[in-house]
């Protein structure tokens, strides 16, 4: 087996394992920390797929940003960590059945479909090409993303502002 194949399985294990831990964990903070590893694993898979920029972006945005935000959110909204840390999971059984079914369905589709694949070529970095694309075909989405983020800022701030003047 090639090294990259082994690594693929290692990272798959990391991703899925921590994702599973996250889903089944009772403690929400632990779940958030587990999510870090899951997302890092995904980033590693991106690298294996020759998407280095996306991989680094994944780490930067998810680990450095979203997860910190989620952790802050947890610490902000959980009243009593000793009890509410354990999040209620009532309809666990039907839910697992349902998502299991979805998984089986998806797997079936993916396995049975005939994908027209090309022989992957080794690429040496995607930065330059990405930049070029961003400035040409994706110029509009680029600007739209800017507007979107602006809206996101304003929206998020509007919403998280307290109604009253708090200290």
């Amino acid at each position: 087996m090639e090294l990259s194949a082994i690594l693929f399985y290692v990272f798959t294990l990391l991703t899925l394992g921590s994702a599973a831990y996250m889903v089944f964990s009772k403690n929400i903070v632990n779940a958030a920390f587990a999510l870090i590893f899951s997302l890092s694993g995904v980033a590693a898979l991106y690298v294996l797929l020759y998407a280095d920029f996306i991989a680094a972006t994944q780490i930067l945005v998810y680990v450095g940003g979203i997860l910190i935000l989620i952790l802050f959110g947890i610490m902000l909204t959980t009243l009593d960590f000793t009890e509410n840390l354990k999040t209620v999971t009532v309809n666990m059984l039907p839910a697992s059945l349902l998502s299991g079914a979805v998984a089986v369905l998806l797997l079936y589709v993916f396995l049975s479909a005939e994908w027209t694949t090309i022989v992957p070529a080794d690429r040496d970095g995607t930065m330059y090409d990405l930049g070029m694309m961003l400035m040409n075909e994706y110029l509009l989405p680029f600007q739209i993303a800017g507007v979107l983020l602006l809206v996101a800022i304003i929206g998020a701030l509007l919403m998280s502002t307290r109604h009253k003047n708090e200290p």
């Binding site: 632990n30 920390f33 680094a56 780490i59 930067l60 450095g64 940003g65 910190i68 952790l71 970095g125």
Partner: protein
């Protein structure tokens, strides 16, 4: 360097490992030296001497003794702590700061991993530091830790913005994210006939960028006047309060490694990395390493000098400096750098 190692070492795997071990040795030696130097510098600034007795001449073995002692210290995991996260945090923090060294071009002959997105990768990987500090502080279940950890997180997160923007300012001049390429671009002494081709001399706005970078670097590596995470007089020892023994040693090591990392990044981006200031005179891989380290150490020295001079900021002032001053300034400066590049 890898080829060289492969030549002298029969197994290429071992050669690779030795190759990757080099920064570790460097960090360890540097940490031993820097902690000693920090105490010495503090001593001299304060009209005292600092370590004098351990090991003989000017207490050179002081940090070795400290490390050896830390190994012997009992390792306490408080019973209210989340033991797994508590143990994981030191791993993460050191691993992340070590992995960041992979893309630093130590000399023209040595770079751990010559990836194309070097600078970007480095910025991304440092976000693990923030997470591990939150993890450590949360896991400790100690009030001082938690207050310190939250402060750290807010501080590191905030100052990451100006850091990224100033790094980006350099990247638009270089049009590359490969730190090796960036360094190579700075070879030569062409500016005004004698100045080296370092980026800081290439674009006047990069001087401002460097100032901003340096300030945010102080904050990112928790140095005075931004050393709130560990501010002894307020938070006992901040997020490290509950850590003892070698685990704490890992935090300390990571902290010093972080300081070195950012200094070296600064040296690479602004001061020509391993390039000699005298053109081809005294250049070459070995000399280059020396120059590079010298530049990094100078920055480290300035950081220490500042530490022993200034009081520290308060947390709201810290945030104010970042959000109302550094970030707008760095953006404006970024646009100006780009403009300068367009015009000249």
């Amino acid at each position: 360097m890898l080829e060289f190692l492969e030549n002298i070492i029969p197994s290429s795997t071992i050669a690779l490992v030795v190759f990757a071990l080099f920064p570790l040795v460097l960090i360890l030696v540097y940490a031993l030296f820097a902690i000693w130097a920090e105490r010495k510098i503090a001593g001299f600034i304060q009209d005292r001497l600092g370590p004098m007795r351990t090991g003989g001449f000017h207490g050179w073995a002081q940090t070795i003794a400290d490390m050896l002692k830390l190994i012997q210290k009992e390792d306490i995991i408080p019973k209210d702590a989340s033991s797994f996260l508590f143990k994981l945090a030191p791993f993460m923090i050191f691993t992340a700061s070590y992995a960041a060294f992979a893309v630093i071009p130590f000399s023209s002959g040595y770079i751990g991993s010559n990836i194309n997105i070097g600078a970007f990768y480095l910025l991304a990987i440092t976000s693990f530091l923030t997470i591990s500090i939150i993890m450590a502080s949360w896991a400790s279940n100690n009030k001082w830790s938690l207050v310190g950890g939250m402060r750290t997180a807010a501080q590191m997160v905030s100052y990451e913005v100006p850091t990224i923007v100033t790094v980006l300012s350099v990247l638009i001049v270089a049009s590359s994210m490969n730190l090796m390429t960036i360094t190579e671009m700075q070879t030569g002494n062409d500016i005004m006939g004698f100045l080296p081709n370092w980026f800081i001399f290439q674009n006047p706005f990069l001087i401002v960028a460097f100032a901003l970078f340096f300030i945010s670097m102080l904050a990112e590596s928790h140095r005075v006047p931004f050393d709130l995470p560990e501010s002894e007089s307020e938070l006992v020892a901040g997020y490290q309060t509950e850590y003892s023994g070698m685990r704490w040693g890992m935090f300390m090591l990571a902290e010093y490694a972080d300081m070195l990392l950012l200094s070296l990044l600064g040296a690479t981006l602004f001061f020509g990395g391993w390039n000699s200031p005298f053109g081809t005179f005294m250049s070459g891989p070995v000399w280059g390493f020396g120059w590079f380290m010298l530049k990094g150490m100078l920055l480290v020295f300035v950081m220490m000098w500042i530490r022993w001079t200034l009081p520290r900021y308060r947390v709201d002032q810290l945030m104010h400096i970042c959000w109302s001053i550094l970030i707008p300034l760095s953006f404006v400066n970024f646009v100006l750098v780009a403009l300068w590049e367009m015009i000249f």
